[in-house]
Amino acid sequence: MHIFSMQRLVRFLIYLLTFIILWTSLQPVFVLTILNSTRLWFLFILAMVLMFYFKCPRWVSASTCGIMILFQLHFYFYRNEQLFSLHWMRPLYAELIRNFGHVWQGQFYLLSDPFTAFLFFILFGFILFGIRHWLANGHVGLLITLAILSLALIDTFTSFNADRSMIMVTIASLLLVILNKWTLFTYSTSKPQTIKQTISWFTSGLVLGVVLLLFALLVPKPTVHWNTPSNYLSSLSFPFVQKGSFFSDNQRIGYDQDDSRLGGSLNMDTTPLFTANISGNPGYWRVAYKDYYTGHGWDDSNHFYLPINENQSLSSLVGLYGKQTRTNRETATIHFSKESPAILPYTGQPVQVRVPGRHLNYEQTTGQVLTTNEQWVSSEQLVYDEPIYQMQRLRQSTATTDPEVIRKRYLQLPDSLPSRVINLGQSLTAGKSNRYDQVKAVVDYLRSSRFTYSTEHVPRPAKGQDYVDQFLFDSKVGYCDNFSTSMVILLRASGIPARWVKGFTTGEYQGQVKDKVKGKQVYLNKYQITNEDAHSWGEVYFPGSGWISFEPTPSFNNPNQFASSSSTDKTKASQSGKSVHGSESKQGQSSGTSASTDRRQQQAQKHTNESQQQRSDQKNKASQEHISKGHVNGLPMAWIVFALIITCTFVAVCTRKRWLTKIKLKKIQHINVHNEQDFQRAYLGLLSLMALHGLKRKDTETLREFANRVDEKLSDTKMQKLTDAYEQLLYEKHTQGSLIDHQSLHRLIQDLGSHFEK
């Protein structure tokens, strides 16, 4: 292989490795933050690295970067608006201005998601351009340091397990260093390397790298002494870390719901109910769960009370989390206002609940904790376990491993449930390999723009109409109860045990308070929970991990959740639901009412093919309608436009030699060399044409040296003659009018240009 093509290959590999390193070190972002569209990130990074590779001018890559950032912001936060419209640009602008105000005033906990995302993108953009600079100058060390450092920090301070990413980055970095060193070496010596030298260089580099890696993998590692470093972060008590949803550290850190709009039947009032001082991260406040769905709502007619001993641990009774869920022990103190109902809410898994001077009962069917006389109390003390879910464990769950007790109780469905609901549930989860992804599919479906969140104008189901069916197929407008009930029913329809939970969201952050816990002075986070914060959500059973909450309601984020959020603008929420409207009503005819739940499930398994068929039909129809209406949520259109732009750019870059030659030749041929400026333009045009064909003049090469090279290559003497004339123009004292006859110059230029025509 010729050394020149070797250099090219190495350059390509360097950029490829850079891409891999960038991509790998972004993995935590997909898991930990709400910016979790891997496809968008992939396109973003790919496009930027490609632009750097092809040495696009800075303004081109910078503006592309800007457009991509806007596009991503649209995708994550303003999906319901058309991409090419001002309907989302203006709110975005207003949002940014408002948030800059918050920053100015130091109110970091008020910063909104789009703003945080915006800042993150800007930062990432800067990093990208830093990388561009480093790559151009061969400083790959900085890139590697940045990647490894960020992964190490994320691994330490969040729940994200970066082991695999770290190994990937290390391998890629080693390769990158080897390649980069080689490039630097060949540049600095400027002596051509023989193939033998090159091969031995790379072999020794690779062997060294492999030895290093093996050593690193095999060497014994001390066990971690710092078990829950993420606690360290909370002990720092940065309000914005605890309140922010963006770096939500999804399993634990809460979501600020200061603009909670829940209401409807729950009264839109802000009556304070209780304040909670908690040592851990904010979580949803659970009051009770329900498991029996009637077709109109959730029933809990039977109650079984168990008295709770003061010193008895509640964990075994409540049994929320399985062995595979790690927990942190935390405490909370709750003070109730006079208006509060007689409830004892808890968060996480309660270990100990105490109300001074009262005896408590545990209600077994709903998981509710009550005082024995079920009357109002002024305060409650809580010791609880805050869960840290293991993402990978969740993904390993499959339906077959559910215990019989769970299956019996949490797969219940009313006989009157229309089969189209069941079909929808099954089609949503079909093709997903594990439970987590199945649940995620249902949650994403509900959180999509098909449904509108609203507390007003929510129609009641007609007499005999199923509550879930009415919401899913008719009204498509509702609030948390609609979404959470639908989620539970859809999951049960596909054989996943689930139940409905009601309680409160995290409430409004009130700052820090000093408190005494077991005689020690600690700082606790105070939250104010009002009537507005009343909420309901769904819980899904994962064998080994226990019950895990999921948030199906758009614009709400469950703190115990793997992030999936889009802060939909409720008042403007789109007409998107209508597009699917017609297609789905047909499904109702496919099967009649069937007898028992079990039978239906068997049927479901048999007819997976059928349901898949239906699903694809439905998809086709939906997309057809999308195109015919030309907007809906603007996404398919945008994707097409985006893909077109990418393709065009790619084609243009690949064929640039051909069309650039044509353009440049035309330009040169049209210049009549009448004066100095014309001659200079023509000559420089000729130089750039030659550069396009591999005859590039180095910046430090004199014109004469270059002309010699060109003439040698073309076995000609024309370039020398032309260069002599140009040198005269450039370096001589008075050339005005003394230019040699322009016709011969013109001919020289034409002749030289024609060399490159083919």
């Binding site: 400026q677 200079q680 130089l687 430090t700 004199t702 040296e705 450039l730 001589e732 004292k733």
Partner: protein, 321 residues
């Protein structure tokens, strides 16, 4: 214009003429001509026997000027080269006997074998154009051209020239061994007859003074001046160089570039001129640091590498926006 063309020819004739004696060293001859035309002096450093003295002889013989040769030895005294006043008993007064320095073209052979005292007498003459003997300052002739030779410094019995004195030489170069082909033809010539004997002058002192005047009017454009400055500044910022080129060096480079352009039959300078002369004009004006010395780098090569990193101007200034 015509006279100018004729003048251009004079110098190329001189080079051709010298080449009949010194084979295959056209570049060296050209560089010496640069010093001659720019009014500078030349230092030739090489091992004994490669033809330093013959070359200088040939140039001196081609110019019909007063040629003097000084062989420097450790016991040479300043008065031996400048001349001295001797008491004339007949006239009863002191009489000045001019030394060998009072010539047009001086060959200072093995300059580093003499003591610094004597070296500085020579260098004063080179820098100031006059010498002081017995308190009387005496002017040197208008055409005063020194070609000094020296053995490489690490040879035994040598006094190295200090940097400040090396600065006085416009150009420092080395000869190197001739090619095989050239050396063969050298043998053939020796068989025939000593070619140096046949050499006749083709240039007069006035010719050279005229040429010098012409050289100083060679046009150096703004772009070229900036190109030169870029190079100079690069020497001052280079990590291996402790002391970069002084403004005196800048002026020297400028004059050498003018002379080289003239030799190349042009009345304007181009970047190639700078590339051709810069290593020889600037190489001995640098103070390299230890790292460079360990690396066996020398100034000439360093300048040669450095100039390959300077951007060449290819556009008129006013059109650059």
């Amino acid at each position: 214009m015509n006279s100018r063309v004729a003048m251009h020819h004079l110098i190329s004739d001189l080079i051709d003429h010298v080449e009949t004696v010194v084979v295959g060293k056209r570049h060296v001859v050209k560089l010496i001509s640069v010093a001659l035309l720019a009014g500078g002096h030349v230092l030739i450093e090489d091992i004994p026997g490669v033809g330093k003295t013959v070359l200088v002889h040939a140039i001196a013989k081609s110019v019909g000027a007063d040629f003097k040769r000084i062989q420097f030895t450790p016991d040479l005294l300043p008065s031996d080269i400048t001349g001295l006043s001797i008491y004339n008993q007949k006239k009863g007064q002191f009489e000045f006997r001019p030394g060998p320095l009072m010539g047009n073209i001086i060959l200072a052979d093995e300059i580093n074998r003499t003591s610094p005292k004597t070296q500085s007498a020579l260098l004063e003459g080179m820098a100031e154009g006059h010498v002081t003997v017995d308190g009387v300052t005496r002017d040197l002739p208008e055409l005063f051209f020194v070609m000094a030779t020296q053995n490489p410094v690490d040879y035994e019995g040598t006094y190295a020239l200090p940097e400040a004195q090396l600065d006085r030489f416009l150009i420092k170069l080395s000869m190197g061994y001739p090619d095989r082909k050239d050396e063969l033809s050298l043998l053939n010539r020796v068989q025939d007859q000593d070619p140096l004997r046949r050499l006749t002058p083709i240039l007069s002192v006035t010719d050279i003074l005229k040429l010098r005047h012409q050289v100083s009017s060679v046009y150096v454009s703004e772009e070229m001046k900036n190109y030169i400055m870029d190079l100079i500044e690069a020497t001052r910022a280079h990590p291996l160089i402790t002391l970069g080129v002084s403004p005196r060096g800048t002026i020297a480079l400028f004059q050498a570039v003018q002379a080289y352009a003239f030799i190349e039959q042009r009345d304007y300078a181009i970047p190639d001129d700078v590339k051709a002369v810069a290593p020889y004009v600037l190489g001995h004006r640098l103070l390299l640091n230890q790292e460079a010395l360990y690396d066996h780098q020398n100034g000439k090569e360093l300048i040669g590498d450095l100039i390959e990193t300077i951007k060449v101007p290819v556009m008129k200034r006013e059109t650059v926006k």
